[in-house]
């Protein structure tokens, strides 16, 4: 598993929770407690061990933990910026997720982001599916889509169904979305 993913989980645990949790996670997953290395490959099983250790320590389910990670991603300003760049509207953004796998691969070879297939069911309703071996991404994607919907100021209902994730955009005048400009403002990156 690419160090980028491992480091991502680490950053989530260390910024949203505390060092005590990180110590438990790193020792149970066999990661250097000083921090994961973004440029190396880890064992395929490492993220599973991390998620198990973290959800045990936090006394929540694996799915809840994964969804929290997904919800945290839009809070990273640089990621949010590039994601907002992918679509002028939330609908465009959802549709652009079919590029995610290839975009990730171009930036970091070996970064195996899920290959997301998007089916348009009807206007404002989409089904996102991922291959079964990457099913752990579903809860992450659920949290991520809800977070991005908030960012666009769109009320989106995201449900996990048997055949994939169903995204319904209920009302696209739900709230003022966060202001977004392609010009990156200095000092806002975090």
């Amino acid at each position: 598993m690419h160090g980028f993913i491992i480091r991502g989980i680490e950053l989530f645990v260390r910024t949203r929770h505390d060092e005590g949790i990180w110590i438990a996670v790193s020792s149970q997953a066999g990661i250097n407690p000083c921090g994961a290395m973004i440029m190396r490959q880890y064992h395929e099983n490492t993220p599973k061990l991390m998620v198990q250790a973290a959800s045990d320590a936090l006394r929540i389910s694996r799915e809840e933990f994964l969804e929290d990670i997904g919800g945290w991603i839009p809070c990273i300003n640089s990621v949010r910026h590039i994601m907002r760049f992918s679509g002028a509207t939330f609908e465009d953004f959802v549709l652009s997720l079919d590029d995610l796998h290839d975009r990730g691969r171009v930036v970091l070879p070996g970064l195996n982001l899920p290959r997301i297939v998007i089916n348009v069911i009807s206007p404002n309703c989409y089904r996102l599916s991922i291959s079964a071996d990457q099913a752990d991404w579903y809860p992450v994607l659920t949290g991520f889509l809800r977070g991005m919907a908030d960012d666009y100021g769109v009320l989106a209902i995201v449900d996990q169904e048997e055949s994939g994730l169903c995204v319904r955009i209920a009302d696209n005048t739900f709230a003022e979305g966060r202001a977004f400009s392609l010009i990156k403002q200095s000092g806002t990156d975090g």
Partner: protein, 338 residues
């Protein structure tokens, strides 16, 4: 070209190496040379390309016309490839001709190598080549950083291993032993059910000083290495064996709760150590005393306490004539029950 008075259109098309000029039936009237490398010569556009990001039963040409009128973007997958969809804009020309101007999107890097494209295949205002430069340099730098951090990681692991290892015997050193002890103590403090008991043996060689004094330090070192290999041989893989001082050794036995078995292991170790070893023309004959402690005799354990008790048991063994195993008898649980 069939559009009447089409010289202007024809010239404009020369600027677009990935264009498609279609009529309303989807018949291809002109195809840019770079796009042709991807889809070959096709009569109908639908036989090479499929609309993406649309509902599944969308009809190709009517939708394309709609997009042209609305001024939106079009995403087109190429049949029989794994390239990400091409993307572009569509406009209506006079006489119901439809013009698409496409580009690769993120698939550009794969496409360049798959179709052996060069700078000449792209419009002068296309940033494809600049993307390739950035991509290639990014990969080169990434590979270097990756190699470098791998190197550092290996060095760190090696240094860590060394800092826990006794260089003479290859056993754990004092630091390594402290770490192993803190691990078994952690396992011991878990709630009943997950708790794992353990035992500790403290071993001290008898008559070792005589070997060192009479035959020299090199001979002494050889004897120590021989003892180390006996200890490794007589213990299990998950036991921790350490040399914590000159001729003092510690053995941690996770999961060991039987007094009889500990005595048995200890006696086997002692009898192996008592086998005379020839060093040069000399026969070295040493022995060992062992003090043992069992975690199950405690209600509360500290690392200091259990080591002190091991030490006391070892002292008992020595006082009782050496070459023996003595267990520390401090049954706090039994005591409390009285």
């Amino acid at each position: 070209m069939i559009i009447s008075g089409s010289t202007a259109v024809e010239r404009a098309l020369m600027l677009m190496p990935m264009h498609l000029l279609l009529d309303t039936d989807g018949i291809v009237h002109s195809c840019g040379p770079t796009l042709r490398k991807l889809i070959g010569r096709v009569r109908y556009v639908q036989s090479a390309l499929a609309l993406r990001r649309v509902p599944p039963d969308t009809e190709f040409m009517p939708r394309l016309k709609e997009i042209a009128q609305e001024g939106g973007r079009v995403f087109l997958g190429i049949h029989n490839t794994r390239l990400p969809p091409l993307r572009g804009e569509v406009v209506m020309l006079p006489e119901n001709y439809i013009l698409l101007n496409l580009s690769f999107g993120i698939g550009i890097i794969e496409a360049i190598s798959a179709y052996q494209l060069t700078e000449a295949d792209f419009a002068a205002n296309d940033l494809a080549i600049e993307i390739m430069y950035l991509h290639e340099s990014n990969q080169a730098i990434r590979a270097e950083l990756s190699r470098h951090s791998l190197h550092l990681e290996e060095a760190r692991k090696e240094a860590e291993l060394q800092s826990y290892t006794d260089t003479l015997t290859g056993l754990l050193n004092r630091r390594g032993f402290d770490l192993a002890l803190s691990r078994v103590l952690h396992q011991w403090t878990l709630p009943i059910g997950n708790r794992q008991e353990f035992s500790l043996l403290h071993l001290d060689l008898d008559r070792f000083k005589a070997v060192n004094d009479s035959l020299g330090h090199a001979a002494g070192d050889e004897v120590l290495c021989n003892v180390a290999s006996i200890l490794k041989r007589e213990t299990r893989n998950n036991d921790s064996v350490a040399r914590i001082g000159g001729d003092e050794f510690m053995i941690l036995l996770p999961g060991m709760t039987s007094e009889a078995e500990i005595v048995h292991i200890g006696e086997r170790i002692i009898s192996a150590i008592e086998q005379p070893v020839s060093i040069g023309e000399h026969q070295c004959s040493i022995s060992a005393s062992i003090g043992g402690v069992l975690s199950r005799h405690y209600e509360v354990i500290s690392a200091e306490q259990i080591q002190a008790d091991g030490d006391t048991a070892l002292y008992d063994a020595k006082r009782n004539g050496r070459g023996h195993v003595r267990l520390h008898k401090r049954d706090i649980r039994a005591h409390k029950a009285v």
